[in-house]
Amino acid sequence: MFRFVLGRLLVVVAVAMTLSVVAFFLLNLAVDPAQAIAGEEANLLEIEQVRQRYGFDRALTVRYVEWFSAVMHGDFGVSYYWNKPVHELLLDRVPETATLALMALSVTVVIAIPLGCAAALNPNTWIDRLALGIAVSAQAIPNFWLGLMLIILLAVIFPVFPVSGDKTLYHFVLPSFVLGASSVPPVMRLMRAGLLDVMSADYIRTARSKGFSGWQLLLRHSLRNALLPVVSVLAVQLGHKFGGSVITESVFAINGLGRLALESILGADMPTVQMLVFVFAFIFLTLNFLADIINAYLDPRLRT
């Protein structure tokens, strides 16, 4: 187990390092940071002064090493656009996005897992078809459009929920439904397939012959094994929730990381964008790492 965890950890570190290189070089080659700081109207001399003052005239590799060691020390740089340290910007916005992502994941779990179980326990019936229909439709609905439809229906025509904002948890209900709905199809399908698979296993037949049936069979015997692959997919989906927050937050005007990302991109504020790309990737990697560990803990066969 220790060797397994260590191996996975090494992969996470290697991937994180690679991505930091990619993000740094991509964004620094694509835009001239001196130009971005000096502004659109600056002449060549002014740009050159900025370049020398901030040290942008040195080799990219040197600047990368400098940037990376600063990040390791918790210094994420200063945003040109907001004129604030990047880590302050990020920390300010983390609570909104974390709330949104976790609530969205709960929505996914609450809808997808019962639906998948119901479909698997009643294969080829109307329940199964309904579940499949929901999955197929949810896959085809554009996320931002679903958000706008819900605003029109549940905030304008029937004013049950607020139109936008992030003041109370109540404001997060519609956005988390929208963000959560997009993960329902993959989780539901996996739950259904996994449970169908488990239900035809020998040990379930044994349990049946011992007289277990219905909910007892599901809860005590089959669900545990069928949930294994679902755990990793939920981790992946939670990772996607952070990246997907860009759209939902802009539709519902939530001041989280996603909105910060959009605003920074439109403001050509590369230090912030660079850090956001890195942070989102890091969250994703960490969640995957945790899922791998949980899975290996639950199923010893996976410890390779």
């Binding site: 992969v11 290697a14 991937v15 690679t18 991505l19 990619v22 991509l26 964004l27 694509a30 835009v31 080829n124 499949l132 197929v136 439709s137 896959q139 085809a140 609905i141 554009p142 996320n143 931002f144 459009w145 706008l148 439809m149 605003i151 029109i152 304008v156 990772g239 952070f242 990246g243 997907g244 860009v246 759209i247 802009s250 990302a261 959009l262 991109i265 439109l266 050509a268 964008v273 956001l276 790309v277 989102f280 990737a281 994703f284 990697l285 995957n288």
Partner: protein
């Protein structure tokens, strides 16, 4: 597998003994409701996007400021002259939505092609060679999966400058992982089969083996993934355009139409509702077709609507 299903299968085989594989597929396709529905809907939308505008004498860019924000014909104040109404610049909404189908289909097909080229190439190479090549590809895959795709796409499109070509390339470059995973797994299995060994024994080059012996056997799977990725790419383009870092005005992309209608949310909701329905129907048609092709080309499946 129950006795009954084995029986049913042998019966199916004996019924089909005089049919070639492609005839069996045709038979399955003609019985698959989802596939037929998806295909007809897709053909309908494609015809409306590519052929109908040629017959109509109207441009999606013609403005008429005296005709701004007309409602559709079924709402009071609407007329058959602009049966889906007009937008904030007095442009006919029906014509704009028609042209939007072109953008979606072109971007979807283009981006899925780019993704396919990358994913299939990497999958073939890593599945065929294995060893350290496979490990390198696997590392690249892990990196790609960890990257926040939408955020990166937004950034690159913004920096490089938005055009249809850039949008296609960026979405394609970020959507190849599914091709890679599936192609690699199948290649790994196929390359151990006797006929590949035989081809090696008579001195066929590695590239030729991949192209002529392995690739044809992957086509069914590739087509299924390609279809589903077209749907994903269309939704990505719509999201990018909606956020303002994709197709730029005045080009009538559906995502952009929805973004433009957002300000009129309270008074002219159809400006949002109509292009969204178009987007939903197109992606639904494509996904149903993809699921259908999977059922039809899978030799194990017993056709009939289930997936």
């Amino acid at each position: 597998m129950s006795l009954l299903s084995i029986f049913r299968k042998t019966q199916l085989v004996s019924d089909a003994r005089n049919l070639t594989p492609s005839q069996v597929m045709q038979l399955k396709a003609s019985h698959h409701k989802g596939f037929k529905f998806g295909l007809s809907l897709l053909l309908g939308i494609a015809l409306m996007g590519f052929v109908l505008p040629l017959m109509l004498d109207a441009s999606p860019y013609d403005q008429d400021l005296s005709m701004r924000l007309l409602p559709p014909v079924w709402i009071e104040g609407g007329s058959w002259q602009h049966w889906l109404g007009t937008d904030g610049n007095g442009r006919d909404y029906f014509v704009r939505i028609l042209y939007g189908a072109r953008i979606s289909l072109v971007v979807g097909l283009g981006a899925a092609t780019v993704g396919m080229l990358i994913g299939v190439t990497l999958g073939l190479i890593s599945g065929f060679y294995g060893g350290w090549v496979d490990q390198v590809v696997n590392f690249v895959l892990t990196c790609q999966l960890a990257l926040p795709g939408l955020l990166l796409a937004m950034t690159i499109v913004f920096l490089v400058g938005p055009s249809i070509m850039v949008v296609i390339l960026v979405i394609g470059v970020l959507h190849w992982t599914l091709f890679l995973v599936v192609v690699r797994a199948t290649t790994r299995r196929i390359r151990k089969l006797d006929y590949v060994t035989a081809a090696q024994a008579i001195g066929t080059g590695r590239f030729e083996i991949m192209r002529r012996e392995i690739l044809p056997n992957l086509m069914n799977q590739i087509i299924v993934i390609f279809t589903l990725e077209v749907g994903v790419a269309i939704l990505s383009e719509a999201s990018l355009s909606f956020l303002g870092v994709g197709i730029q005005p005045p080009t009538p992309s559906w995502g952009l139409l929805i973004a433009e209608g957002k300000d009129a949310l309270f008074y002219q909701p159809w400006l949002i509702i109509l292009p969204g329905i178009a987007l939903f129907l197109l992606v639904l048609a494509i996904n149903m077709m993809g699921d259908g092709i999977r059922d039809i080309t899978d030799p194990e499946s017993q056709s009939e609507g289930s997936s």
